[in-house]
């Protein structure tokens, strides 16, 4: 019974903060709401008996990726830049399409994906993840390290000052 209360509370938290991310005009508020949404999703991972991934979710997403977002938003000083209004037709089409998509997906989930209680025990602690990762998935794991190295080099290359063309004046 407690599990259900926790599930509904944090599901509501996740959905509300996700809506704030999408609807709020200020990107700083959006980024902080996304952090709250990720924390609620980490609670969902704990409910799914995967505490190791919940810790990873908080460390990687809330800790690293969202700090990067906030850092870029504040570096570019975007909280004072007014976002131009979206055309009404695009707004209407976007809301309609996403609502139709969501309703359709929920309909088909309720129709085809209502499964029986799981019978197999689920081991998702750090030991199980490590055993799987370094036995069956050791080659993709090494590929991920190369991918991250390429991402570091690419980010350094892309975000450097332009060698020619217009350099932006630094505001006092």
């Amino acid at each position: 019974m407690d599990q259900f209360i926790i599930f509904f509370f944090f599901a509501a938290v996740a959905i509300i903060f996700a809506l704030v991310v999408v609807l709020h005009r200020n990107p700083v508020v959006g980024a902080l709401s996304l952090v709250a949404c990720f924390f609620a999703l980490a609670v969902m991972y704990v409910l799914l008996e995967a505490p190791f991934l919940a810790a990873l979710q908080i460390i990687i997403y809330a800790g690293a990726i969202m700090v990067l977002f906030l850092f870029v938003i504040m570096l570019l000083n975007l909280q004072h830049v007014a976002e131009p209004a979206t055309r009404p037709i695009q707004q209407f089409a976007g809301y309609t399409a996403s609502a139709a998509f969501g309703i359709g997906m929920i309909y088909f989930l309720l129709k085809y994906a209502v499964l029986a209680e799981p019978t197999v025990p689920f081991h998702a602690d750090a030991r199980a993840v490590g055993m799987a990762m370094f036995q069956a998935y050791v080659f993709p794991f090494e590929m991920v390290s190369i991918l991250l190295l390429a991402a570091i080099v690419g980010a350094l290359f892309l975000s450097g000052r332009p060698a020619h063309g217009k350099a932006r004046e630094v505001q006092p």
Binding site: Q3, F4, A11, A14, I15, A18, V21, V22, P27, G30, A31, L34, C37, M44, Y45, L48, A50, I60, I65, L68, F69, V72, I73, L75, L76, E83, T86, Q90, Y95, S98, A99, G102, M105, L109, L110, A113, L115, P118, V120, P121, F122, A124, A128, V129, M133, A136, V144, L147, L148, A150, A151, G154, A155, L158, S159, R161, G165, K166, A167, R168
Partner: protein, 100 residues
């Protein structure tokens, strides 16, 4: 025990909210955050099915998706910084040329 399809429905709702953000917003950073939201919704689906079938493959996929999202965030934000240096805006409607 919470039924699996509740997690799937929560995941579908979060994914739809992410789609709404991508379709209706113009701020590049906000669009990017909506994409992160969609990635997380898919992670939740992977984990719900991993628990349903008692397998660790879903867990490993979630781990790899997290690593790829980190790489994607670094590259995407670097692109937005570069765009802001060139155009003084991150409005995605302004970024309609491959070369400038």
């Amino acid at each position: 025990m919470i039924p699996t399809h509740w997690f799937l429905i929560l995941s579908a709702v979060l994914f739809s909210i992410g789609v709404m953000g991508v379709l209706t917003r113009k701020n590049g950073i906000t669009i990017f955050m909506s994409i992160e939201l969609m990635v997380n919704a898919v992670n939740l689906t992977f984990l719900a099915y991993a628990k349903q079938f008692g397998q660790t493959h879903g867990l490993i996929f979630v781990f790899f998706i997290m690593a790829i999202a980190a790489a994607e965030a670094a590259i995407g934000l670097a692109i937005f910084i570069s765009l802001f240096h060139h155009r003084d805006t991150i409005d995605v409607d302004e970024a309609n040329l491959m070369h400038w």
